[in-house]
């Protein structure tokens, strides 16, 4: 039955979003993610960035476009659930894996916290938790999808900015909407990494939005790792030791943040 599985796409229409952040609350409520103690950093955006307990985040961005009109851009950030997912390729233990509906799910039990995915992800999504030594990210409410329920954020959205449906219909809906909007509106998500299962309708060119890569792609290092090194290590040295050693060999101390293609 696997091959005929229906693929879902979550479409985020930023031109309808009022940043009421109902989705941010609904995500925490459904996944029982605790709130973190935050401070005001001079922006409505809080918490500051995705965290191990914050899987979706509304990014606030003040932007004056080329002909001087001021715009306040809101973008709901979170895992894009790529078809060709760099994180899945890089994950030595198979914790990150593809599932039906196009979801990139994460099996926390077998995650060894090697953080290979955090540097592989072109969208910089997975977050590491020091105490549990695991990584965390949005799983598109995979357990709800199996029950025939939409993701929690989709249910919470009152302006209809977030909708979810069968892949082809949602892509068509996105292009129809962009055509109706005109101007610089653009569909984002179907043209790279094999197409993402979370797509945007953006009112400005992608380069304008912070933390949104213009041409995301799977980093060479990951392709190397997957095709050349991964088979040896898993056979030879056993998952845990091997991954940590390999990780150190290739990356060096994990703080070094490798420059991703397309990132300004």
């Amino acid at each position: 039955m696997k091959e005929h599985k229906m693929e879902y796409v979550k479409l985020i229409d930023t031109t309808l979003c009022t940043a009421c952040r109902g989705c941010q609350v609904a995500c925490k409520q459904w996944n029982e993610n605790p709130a973190s103690k935050t401070q005001n950093h001079g922006s409505y955006q809080n918490p500051q960035d995705l965290e191990w307990n914050t899987w979706t985040l509304i990014r606030f961005q003040e932007y004056t476009d080329t002909d001087g009109n001021f715009k306040w851009l809101f973008r709901k950030d979170g895992c894009m659930h790529c078809t060709d997912a760099a994180c899945v390729r890089a994950c030595p233990s198979g914790a990150l894996h593809h599932t039906d509906y196009g979801v990139v799910a994460h099996n926390r039990e077998i995650c060894i916290g090697c953080k290979a995915c955090t540097s592989a992800c072109p969208f910089d999504i997975p977050r590491y938790n020091k105490t549990t030594e695991k990584i965390y990210k949005c799983d598109l409410c995979y357990d709800r999808l199996k029950n025939g329920q939409p993701a929690a954020c989709v249910k919470a959205c009152i302006t209809g900015a977030i909708t979810m449906g069968e892949k082809e219909t949602m892509i068509k809906k996105a292009y129809d909407r962009v055509e109706k909007l005109g101007g610089k509106a653009v569909v984002y998500g179907d043209k790279f990494v094999g197409g993402t299962h979370v797509m945007y309708i953006l009112s400005e060119p992608p380069a304008v939005y912070d933390k949104l890569p213009v041409k995301p792609s799977v980093p060479m290092s990951v392709i190397l790792w997957k095709n050349l090194f991964k088979p040896f290590t898993l056979i030879g040295m056993g998952a845990i030791a091997g991954a940590a050693a390999l990780h150190y060999l290739i990356k060096g101390p994990h703080e070094v943040h490798e420059k991703k293609e397309g990132e300004e």
Partner: protein, 809 residues
């Protein structure tokens, strides 16, 4: 609201001014977006670019406190470019009325002003009457003394240049908004306005709303689907608490509170029952005596008899011309005159203006009885910052209350829909519903007076107080029926229009306030709610049917809508004088020759073309027509722009009258004011945020909401921040002549400097959702900054425009 939330979808142009709908009324904004999807234009006029502006067609920034200048300019534009809806203005407003020749306006003041008392003598604000006492009219609107010409002349001073210089709005933006909105002045277009605290929080708040009402009358937008003036109010049952008048100046149903100029019921009814000699004016308040006597019967039951004027003199009387609003209350408390305070479900220590004075006043109380679902800064004032508990003598009671889903009862949304709520669960442990708490407190007090007596004890002992169910608990249904009203004797009601008669037996419920009596044979706790039950006892508030025959979102069988389930007020003005709908595509009402079909008509009488039985559409107004000339307001029949009490300008660009001449000035040593002073050079406004609600007393206790808005911040424009060398997220002090708060700086492009009278004026803004109790490091009330001053008619405080200084902390 004259209309309601769902009706917003029917509008062609929506002006959001004085409101931040997307953030504070998300469900209202959903209906606004529905209108936008159908091609409506949505305009946001606000000092600050907000999340509402992000989803509107365009945003126009204006300086806080200059709304009347902006709208006055629009009236000037509409009148001088002939954009008004002739047929509507001539027939349905008092534009043609001729005004008393002695009525004058010059240099910012109307005739009859008394500077010492800061009050007007309104003798000259009257119409010229013909022989049989009916106002004289010139339907051609040419007579220089007619209201229309006087209005046109009054607002001719609001030229584009002058308005632009006052408001800081560019002339292009002014014209852009005026043209867009004035385009609805035609029969087949509907324009509506959404406002909230952005308009009411001013010394000229009531007049701002009146200016918009005048615009809606000029454009024929009042009483039509997708029209009206819509207040998006802030609290779940603020409409209900206002209707039942927990307000010093009114008895339930907006009846006037007794005062010393009416020593007995007869004089009181004489004084407050309006008279009109024009047979075509329904002048519905002619029934005022029926509503008053029925209320007294509902309050005192059998003890209220014609002999004791139904208990008129047991009720307290206000001194004529004296006021007892929230600011007066804390003023008196600060003087030590108020010994005891009951504070139910509210947090004045954060939400009232001039928190410094309020918190000093609370310390002078002998006792404070609070009832809430969470603790807040008022209940625990005695261990607030800078307060030494060992010096505070106040006995404090903190009574645990039930939340809304833990009690049965009804709630009115601001679209006048009264919806019945069922009780899902019992409140936790000792908590009780406020109704239960009030019943137990009054029972105990009544017992004390029964035993020991006391001054005017009859008023307490004669109070009808049998609102308990079998188990001795508060019975909401019993009170709701008492509010609706009962027949106290077998009676026959004769409908004067149709001649039909109907018999009712003693003890049956009164099905509509039209049937109330002033001879004591009916009781009614609140006349506007009469009809929420039919005579057999069907609770219309609990109806849940979904039919919507007109398709315009009226939903006549969902819940009850006061008055008499009429969903859009003044709806007869949506038809021409013969009862034919102006806009057949958006038909809410039509006259079929013998009856109205559609929404419940605003008065059953035929359209006014029927000279014999027909009536004008604005039945609650004395003359039956909308008021362009409004003598009811204390500061003048035409709204005039005055600067805020504390503004950036030393002189009012329009006249030598700087501030509203009739506002009350409070004089305690903590009520300092610094107008046009260099010490406080920046205009400041306050507002809420999506994640919190009002004083934050409910939402600050919720982790996921607090995570998104953890601390107090001041939003400050980039240019001003550069001048003051303030970096984003720096700690800053915002100070006014009254107090100071410490908060984060949020440097933003969303505040832009204004060009006002040739000078650059900067504006900043702060939310008012934080208090010291929780979270500990979340900073304290923004209202340490705000002045104790309010609107001249309603005493609603001026939170939206005052002056501050901002420095690095």
């Amino acid at each position: 609201m004259t209309n309601h939330y769902i009706d917003l979808k029917n509008a062609d142009v929506i002006l959001i001014m004085g409101s931040n709908a997307a953030e504070h009324h998300p469900m209202a904004f959903k209906w606004i977006l529905r209108a936008k999807e159908k091609g409506a234009q949505i305009i946001h006029v606000d000092p600050r670019y907000t999340r509402t502006s992000a989803r509107c067609d365009y945003h126009v920034p204006l300086r806080s406190g200059t709304d009347i200048a902006f709208l006055g300019g629009m009236i000037n534009y509409i009148a001088s470019n002939d954009k008004f809806f002739h047929d509507y203005v001539v027939n349905y407003t008092n534009a043609p009325f001729l005004v008393n020749p002695d009525f004058q306006f010059n240099d910012g003041l109307f005739s009859g002003y008394n500077p010492e008392k800061r009050k007007y003598d309104k003798a000259t604000w009257t119409f010229q009457m013909d022989a049989n006492g009916v106002p004289m009219k010139d339907f051609t609107l040419q007579d220089p003394r007619c209201v229309f010409q006087l209005m046109k002349q009054h607002y001719s001073r609001y030229t584009l240049d002058k308005v632009s210089s006052i408001t800081g709005v560019s002339k292009e933006n002014l014209l852009k908004v005026y043209e867009a909105y004035a385009s609805t002045g035609v029969p087949d277009k509907a324009g509506t306005e959404c406002y909230a605290l952005g308009w009411t929080h001013h010394t000229t708040g009531s007049q701002i709303i009146r200016t918009m009402s005048m615009i809606q009358l000029l454009l024929g937008n009042m009483g039509i689907a997708g029209g009206g003036v819509n207040a998006l109010r802030g609290e779940p049952n603020v409409q209900g608490s206002t209707d039942h008048c927990i307000l010093y100046g009114n008895l339930p149903g907006y009846l006037k509170m007794l005062n010393t100029s009416c020593p007995d019921l007869k004089t009181y009814l004489e004084h407050y029952t309006p008279k009109c000699n024009d047979p075509q004016s329904a002048n519905f308040y002619i029934n005022y005596p029926k509503f008053t006597v029925s209320f007294l019967k509902a309050m005192y039951g059998d003890a209220a008899t014609p002999e004791n004027e139904f208990g008129y003199n047991w009720l307290p009387k206000l001194d004529d011309g004296k006021h007892y609003s929230l600011m007066h209350l804390f003023d008196k408390m600060y003087e030590g005159k108020i010994k005891g305070l009951f504070s139910y479900g509210t947090d004045p220590a954060v939400s009232s203006p001039n928190s410094g004075k309020v918190r000093k006043a609370l310390e002078k109380l002998d006792f404070l009885v609070s009832a809430n679902i969470f603790d807040n800064e008022t209940c625990s004032f005695w261990h607030g910052p800078g307060v030494d508990p060992t010096q505070v003598k106040t006995e404090c009671f903190l009574l645990p209350a039930a939340a809304t889903m833990e009690k049965e009862g009804s709630q009115s949304n601001s679209g006048r829909w009264v919806q019945w709520k069922y009780k899902a669960v019992n409140p936790p442990e000792d908590a009780l519903a406020i109704g239960d708490i009030q019943i137990r407190i009054m029972d105990t007090i009544k017992a004390l007076y029964a035993k020991e007596g006391g001054p005017n004890a009859e008023s307490i002992l004669n109070l009808k107080w049998d609102y308990k169910d079998g188990k001795g608990n508060f019975d909401a249904l019993k009170v709701a029926k008492q509010i609706n009203g009962y027949w106290l004797a077998d009676s026959t009601y004769e409908d004067k229009l149709t001649g039909a008669t109907k018999d009712f037996k003693k003890g049956e419920l009164v099905p509509s306030f039209g049937m109330l009596r002033d001879d004591g044979t009916t009781s009614c706790g609140n006349w506007i709610m009469s009809g929420s039950f039919d005579e057999k006892g069907l609770n219309k508030m609990a109806k849940r049917e979904k039919d919507d025959p007109t398709g315009l979102g009226l939903y006549p069988n969902w819940a009850y809508c006061w008055p008499v389930n009429r969903r859009i007020i003044y709806n007869r003005a949506s038809c021409d004088v013969n009862g034919k709908p102006y806009n057949p595509k958006r038909k809410i009402l039509a006259w079929t020759g013998d009856k109205w079909v559609g929404d419940v008509p605003d008065g059953p009488w035929p359209p006014q073309a029927d000279k014999e039985k027909g009536k004008y559409p604005f039945i609650m107004k004395q003359d039956g027509v909308g008021s362009l000339f409004g003598p009811g307001m204390v500061e003048g029949p035409f709204p005039e722009h005055y600067e805020p009490l504390e503004g950036p300008l030393a002189k009012n660009p329009l006249s030598n009258q700087l501030i509203n001449p009739t506002i009350e000035i409070f004089k305690s040593e903590l009520d300092t004011v610094a107008n046009a002073s260099e010490k406080f050079p920046y205009v400041c406004t306050t507002y809420s945020c999506t994640e919190h609600w009002c004083s934050g007393a409910l939402t600050r206790w919720q982790a996921w909401l607090l995570e998104m808005q953890p601390e107090l911040y001041v939003e400050i424009g980039e240019q001003l921040a550069r001048d003051l060398r303030i970096g984003n997220a720096d700690w800053v002090h915002v100070s006014s002549a009254r107090g100071r708060v410490k908060c984060r700086a949020m440097v933003t492009k969303r505040f832009v400097p204004f060009k006002v009278e040739g000078k650059t004026v900067h504006q900043v803004g702060l939310p008012f959702n934080y208090g010291w109790l929780y979270p500990e490091d979340g900073s304290d009330s923004t209202n340490f900054l705000t002045p104790t001053v309010g609107d001249a008619n309603t005493f609603c405080p001026e939170y939206k425009a005052f002056m501050v200084n901002v420095e690095r902390a």
